[in-house]
Subunit: 375 residues, 4 copies
């Protein structure tokens, strides 16, 4: 159930409705949109008892949500969610491609700083690197733990990049949310519902990777677990699925990007490194990810991949990452000759020199247009 407030509803009116919802024993989730605020209701078993909600001041209408996911749905919020980071330009889901780069695992201060220096110079706004590594073998390197997190925090200080790193259980999440800017939940934990709920109570944004054999609905439901606990700063990430195909380690499913964007307001990134498992496939699939409309990339870079403690075969050399950034720059930046860049986030031709251009070609209306016609 969704309570849509009127465009001119006051904050007090929103609060009053939320309190009323709580008085029924449910949980309200007030999500402000560009035009108006919508309040999602969760916590009900079966039908929601709406009482007098419809008559309360400021309420425009009540909408029954028929999909199994509610808070992640575009029904709740038509505008794309943008995750912003205070005191910085970095954002995920906005007009700029979010580039998250770094080594698979933090192996040492030297290794991490060397990679950080290169990816920052090439244009990454976010640094990734595992302090806690979920490894298939109990005998493999499992990460430096808190020592790794401290190195990551130093990198933020030194290079100004925001830090994205994985938490594998509630103990590590406790530490990750203290040191990092974005808490990553890995593919293997996509249906670790206890961890999802814990991440839903984190003050930090969460990056949730698709499970190796997760359907679209299961992926959105996993996101719903996080949002239903009150954390609305959520980013999704496609990273390849398990199939019979053996020319790549996983099969990167780029069709998930527009599929998520139709159904959900959440940003969706692509990880071509895990998605292919092969260094020589990362560059072409990065271009494809940008072109399909992804909100950003997660890319593994290592200065000495042949001696990486994990996932070396899929890590780019720094100069390959430079090439990657060069090749997708057209897609993310205004051309330096002051002429308009016409390929924007792979979604639409737009002429940035024309006033109001962005609005005209923004993602939502275009998708809506299709919706009306096709379904």
């Amino acid at each position: 159930m969704l309570v849509v407030m009127q465009a001119h509803a006051t904050e007090e009116q929103v609060c009053a409705v939320c309190k009323q919802i709580e008085s029924f024993g449910y949980r309200p989730h007030a999500i402000p949109g560009a035009q108006r605020t919508a309040i999602g209701i969760t916590g009900n078993q079966g039908e929601v008892e709406v009482g007098n909600l419809e008559e309360m001041p400021g309420v425009a209408e009540l909408i029954r949500v028929t999909k199994p996911y509610k808070l992640v749905s575009r029904d709740l919020k038509q505008e794309n969610t943008v995750i912003r980071f205070p005191a910085t330009d970095a954002a995920i889901g906005g007009r700029t491609l979010a580039i998250i780069a770094g080594p698979c695992a933090i192996e040492s201060r030297e290794q991490a700083f060397a990679v950080a220096e290169r990816v920052q110079r090439a244009g990454a706004q976010f640094f990734r690197g595992g302090a806690y590594k979920p490894r298939t073998s109990p005998y493999s390197f499992q990460g430096l733990g808190e020592a790794g997190l401290k190195i990551l925090a130093e990198i933020r200080e030194r290079f100004g990049m925001k830090i994205v790193t994985e938490a594998v259980d509630s103990e590590s999440l406790e530490l990750v949310e203290r040191y990092a800017d974005v808490v990553q939940i890995g593919a293997r934990n996509m249906q670790n519902f206890s961890l999802l709920k814990r991440a839903g109570r984190s003050p930090k944004p969460v990056l949730l990777k698709r499970g190796m054999s997760a359907t679209l609905e299961e992926f959105l439901m996993a996101a719903e677990y996080i949002m239903s606990e009150g954390n609305y700063s959520l980013v999704l990430c496609e990273r390849g699925v398990r199939t019979f195909a053996d020319h790549t380690r996983n099969t990167l499913d780029l069709s998930l990007v527009p599929a998520v964007q139709r159904l959900s307001h959440l940003p969706i990134l692509v990880d071509p490194s895990h998605g292919t498992g092969k260094r020589n496939k990362v560059l072409p699939l990065s271009r494809a990810s940008v072109a399909v409309g992804a909100d950003g990339l997660l890319v593994e870079v290592h200065c000495d991949p042949d001696h990486a403690l994990s996932d070396g075969a899929q890590s780019l050399y720094p100069e390959q990452f430079d090439s990657l950034m060069d090749e997708i720059r057209l897609a993310i930046e205004k051309d330096n000759s002051a002429r308009p860049c016409r390929l924007y986030r792979g979604r639409a031709l737009l002429d940035l020199s024309r006033p109001g251009a962005a609005q005209l070609s923004s993602r939502i209306p275009r998708i809506r247009l299709c919706d009306q016609r096709q379904e």
Copy 2:
């Protein structure tokens, strides 16, 4: 690395070797076999420094294990592992099929007792039922929690069946190991490595289900996580994998059973309920599971499946479970006419009236025979 002790090695000699291994900074795992004890070594990064191990009294030989899994491997222990339960006949991995039956979730004392009464009467030695349910939706019934565990403990008292129930995180595992006889780790948590390690420190046996897209090696490595922490009472369970096929909810991969049995000494069960997701497929696939050589079955039974709070479509009616037990009884019991039963656990024709019959046709030698020839 594996230290194989001589057949007549004393307990003191085994202890001395274990201490020596610890003194090198590694962890010893002494696993007694029918003929002799083998000591697995874990905790090394790279090569194990063996020092004078080979010369110690009682040591027969040192074997380098080349497979990524060590403790779960038949290299460590040729005999099948049998999980026994004190003060009871129930066992998993021995000569008798282990039948674990019960509802998907414990919904109430009445519901659970009604099912327990029926499955016990039909011959189940183990009762299953979820107190903690990992559900795709945060808004679905998530189990009764500790209240459910208490009902399960009552069922053990009343019906004498051993209790198998799932833990979904370290908090629930704490409670599950207090109330239950076997701690189940579900498919979604097969690579929740923190939970696996915690289960590896539990005093209770663990039942580990295969992940929905786990390869055989990943499955065995997940088991290795548990054993490497010192819990050697471990049971594996095939429950279907994700494929394109849509006539069943999952595709039950029965070839995993002989594949596990070649490589590992651990028992392997089959869950035809989750493996097919359809009530009318449970009976034929149960027969097939027994015939392929599984050590037992995990079957969902509900007295009123149409109103079950979860997985009703795959739960058997009690009378269907009666039929299932009837149909597989030949495979598990001596014929009542006092003539020998010749189909035993689907593995080999054997004549129980002939002295020494069991040894002659037991699983291992037969598999070994194939091994020598084929690979």
Copy 3:
């Protein structure tokens, strides 16, 4: 559309209805059942114009078939189809398991005769062996062609087994139907619709293997292609599907067997050789196939698999095939001690010494019983 005739309808009445259907421009398919004849109607685009059909003498009722497949459906014919072979006991789909064994390819007269001698002695009623081999590489051995077919015909003469061999195009089908008793259409050609139609005009029974990524519905529709051309002697065969799992060459999907049996009257076999691709998995999966209720097995046997020109790794040694036959014999034969065999085709306990036993426990009523309850 289905015209169900009355139990006492005469042959003339059936003929008259068929002619009337033809006069409407459709094609009638009269399929006699145990109780009464049903006439399937195909050849319509959209709705069938039924005219006065319902009032014709002998017509009991008209049934609209809503499934996309019509002639393969149990709606048309409740009884299992049994394919019989004149002047022999061999049958597929009846009370006896059909065992089809032989080498992957006919390599020479000597090789084929050596295998034939062994599998016939062990109890196979059908001999298989490829004269035309669909091979992934154009440079691999492609079969002996007509010379191979002649060897197969000699084997029938000498050993009395019926011959099953593959046709790969209309030219080879022409020859195969001349020399063999059953025309096999392989997995790669399951949706080679031209070949299916040609097989539908063959006077010989057809064995159709499931495609490597075919859904149940696609498989039944492929069978419908053959039946719609008038060939009602059709046998289906599960042979494993493509998945991510790598411990077997394909993943054998035994749940397909009861799924086919619910929806179709056609016999369904299992090929554990291709279904696993590994010799040491063939025996346990053969037992499982019998137990799940398959109507027979297709097994590759070779006297010198290490030097086989194709698929050696999955071919049994003759003595392994002997063991296989021993292990499943209980399931297919009356016990030699004159006591009743109680496990019959993996489907139901039945006591052959009790009069009328077979009918009581035959497959259909049992399945029907489930139907009424479950769906």
Copy 4:
């Protein structure tokens, strides 16, 4: 085995070597490259007997090919194969994206002409449309046959587009090669080896689609079947594979494009219509296909998709196809402001105003560069 001729070898020398190869009982395949001609040898069982080949005039060296495919391999020919069409600019595999568009099936002259008019105006150089349709159901529309081919031939006359249409057996191939410019072999027939061999003897170029569960190696081997019969004008096409994912009809595997380009000199297209099965996914996945480096697109367009006789749900409206062409135009054309277009075929940034630019950034050297480093 590969005979590499010297750069200055004469045509006579090449001929002499070919004749010598034939005299050994093998088949020579002389493939001219930019620098020099290479001659592939097929038809051998096991090792090739090379005799005096190495000493013949004009021979530079003999190379043993270790991959299972030979003629499709870059070992034979480093330069990309470009399929050209006489008396036209249209080409597949060259510097221009090949756009093949049209309805799934030719339903009528009116329908086909209406679509042709629109796609030609939008910029397609090739027209597609099925005259022979492989359909899952025998009762579905199967195409107009030769009447459809005649309509296609008229469309070539009228609109100047080259015609691509599918052949489903040797009979239809006979007709298709008479009327069309490119013979398509569909996914279901990718391992219909008889049809592949027949296509290998066609004078017309062949477009081969990947099978629904074909590995990369199987796909290249299917292409090898065609080339080994002497038809070197071959185009590959990715069209999605079967997986568990259900948000699209198939899972489009874009990583296949760079994987094919590493191993083979053949052009590779993408069919986002079948690859997603959903109209609203065709546009984003078309952009991604161009960006990943595909040599062209196969797109279904229909003026009235809701009433299409097949595959309506995945066909674009003509105005959607206009948008698609607009969005990818930047990628295929020089900017009209006379400034260099910097995104070329998704592969490399190149500045066409700089002399020699194309060579510097062409695909092969770039890939080679990676090769040397990575593998």
